[in-house]
Subunit: 340 residues, 2 copies
Amino acid sequence: MAHDERRLEVLRAIVQDYVSTNDPVGSKALADRHDLGVSPATIRNDMAVLEEQGYITQPHTSAGRVPTDKGYRLFVDRLSAVKPLSVAERRAIERFLDGAVDLHDVLGRTVRLLAQLTRQVAVVQYPTLSRSAVRHLEVVQVAAARLMLVLITDTGRVEQRVVDCPADIDAGAVAELRTLLNSAFSGVKLADAGDKVPDLLETAPQHLRGLVATVSSTLLETLVEPSEDRLVIGGTANLARGSALDFQGTVSPLLEALEEQVVVLRLISEVDAGTVLVRIGEENDHEALTGASLVTVGYGSRDRALGGLGIVGPTRMDYPMNMAAVRAVARYVGQILAES
Amino acid sequence: MAHDERRLEVLRAIVQDYVSTNDPVGSKALADRHDLGVSPATIRNDMAVLEEQGYITQPHTSAGRVPTDKGYRLFVDRLSAVKPLSVAERRAIERFLDGAVDLHDVLGRTVRLLAQLTRQVAVVQYPTLSRSAVRHLEVVQVAAARLMLVLITDTGRVEQRVVDCPADIDAGAVAELRTLLNSAFSGVKLADAGDKVPDLLETAPQHLRGLVATVSSTLLETLVEPSEDRLVIGGTANLARGSALDFQGTVSPLLEALEEQVVVLRLISEVDAGTVLVRIGEENDHEALTGASLVTVGYGSRDRALGGLGIVGPTRMDYPMNMAAVRAVARYVGQILAES
DNA sequence: GCTGGCACTCCGACCGTGCGAGTGCCAGCA
DNA sequence: TGCTGGCACTCGCACGGTCGGAGTGCCAGC
């Protein structure tokens, strides 16, 4: 029906104008700035319907209209075209990420890049440990009865843990332990590491059993727990910058939630590689994120998401642009990590 | 002279009141809230002198007085008594830091602790690489012609670098290389690592020379550079929280500077273990830090500062409390790291 | 079903006023 | 000589009223 068609067109125009101007948009301004082919009066009727359906609202009588969360949702799902990145932006992505020296560096650059590209707060998750596989396990003696375990995963992540042992250990035992651990765990996904422990304990020579048990329990407890996922956050200055108004005056609850990490971590973990996920305002069932939207995507190779990355900003954001940027960056990061 | 004595007392009272109320403080309020033993009129005379000397200023005619940077400086240097932490606060420090699983965790907890204790932005530097010594160097083959070096320092820091080699490498060479590197660098301070390279190259067997040269140059280039110092930042929500007024409306330049890290890193590196350093407003010759003060101290054992930590806040801050908190936390972190 | 016209609403900018806090100065006093 | 109370003056800010403009809803006409 041509009716509904135009009404959606009106909604799209409202979203676009409101995002770029930050002013509630009225019927006359719409008619001026867009070729809708009808008069302001007709637009007013459409707007009344859209308001009744809950897609837009007016801050107060006789002000313009503003999209609701539901309105943004419709916009993102049906009204927004993918906005391809400019050549300059693609160049910037490559230039920014090339020359990173290690995983920490890659992710640090990624978060800065995303923040700069989108002018929002950027969030990048370290490759999930549980989905990574062991590349190498190093054992270093740091005291007579204390070992440091260093885990190197196939995603380039390096984790360290100190283990206190019940008795002093000699150098030979350390070397044996290293060999044992590596032959047992090399190439094994951390999520499956627990299954290997009984086998390991059985094959271990008698005099090492106790040590192996201590070490493997530390490994499992501190590394396989999902809580061990890490987050890099950047671009918080963008919050303070313009969007003071978007968050009813204060951005500090949002900053707190970001530093807390746990909420964002939960949200960012639910991603597939390749599919950009948008969460708008109230859809994030967390108080501090009311009024904020998340645009997230998984990065990694085609078949396997290593982790998630994305941005956090006001619901009033340029969704098409941000979705494109997030996707492009994730794709490139996936490539970089696959190479190394 | 009793005169100067009282004038300083007035300055101290002004600083204290202004810090706690955030209002310019007038002569009458001073006389009411402090036992200065003189009338408001006399205080007014003292204030006029203090203003002429540049210790205080008035935002506009017929408002109260506000301390200048110079005034805070005098306060910190001569007028503030060390404010001992409460038992509860000491407990909190211990409880917060105990149970950390690795260096990353220790520093993460430290920054959260400091931010919570002081209600300011907290900054913690990773142990400086150049002042650390090599505990172990691990070499892991990640592809036919690509190695990953993992450096473990005596401060518990772990750094990784990927090295591309001109030719394929066999497993035996990797093991040899590992032994060579460790015997050459174990226990050596990274700052002195460069000196060991000629020796190392000489003693290396012919067929490994090229490999050793490639690897050591990567090590030196990427790890000994001072730019490789890292920073953990937390409590940025405290900036947005109350002190919007303290930074003439916007905190975003400060947030940007913090994320940039380089400025703060430079300032935080100039620390001795044990001596709390206070930089007030303009004393930080960096535009974004005008209006901000830094309270920093080195952490580590008695004779060796591993790195710096501290807080960043408005010049209008509770210096005695913050100095005490920073010092106490640094001391405790030093202990924890010495143990591990 | 669209359009122009019209009356109505209401926010926000603008302005003038008055109040209160605070000052500087001065004369008097110990 | 230095402290004190008194006094006139200044100035920012909160308060309240006014006005204009933008935007709306409704209605009659095409």
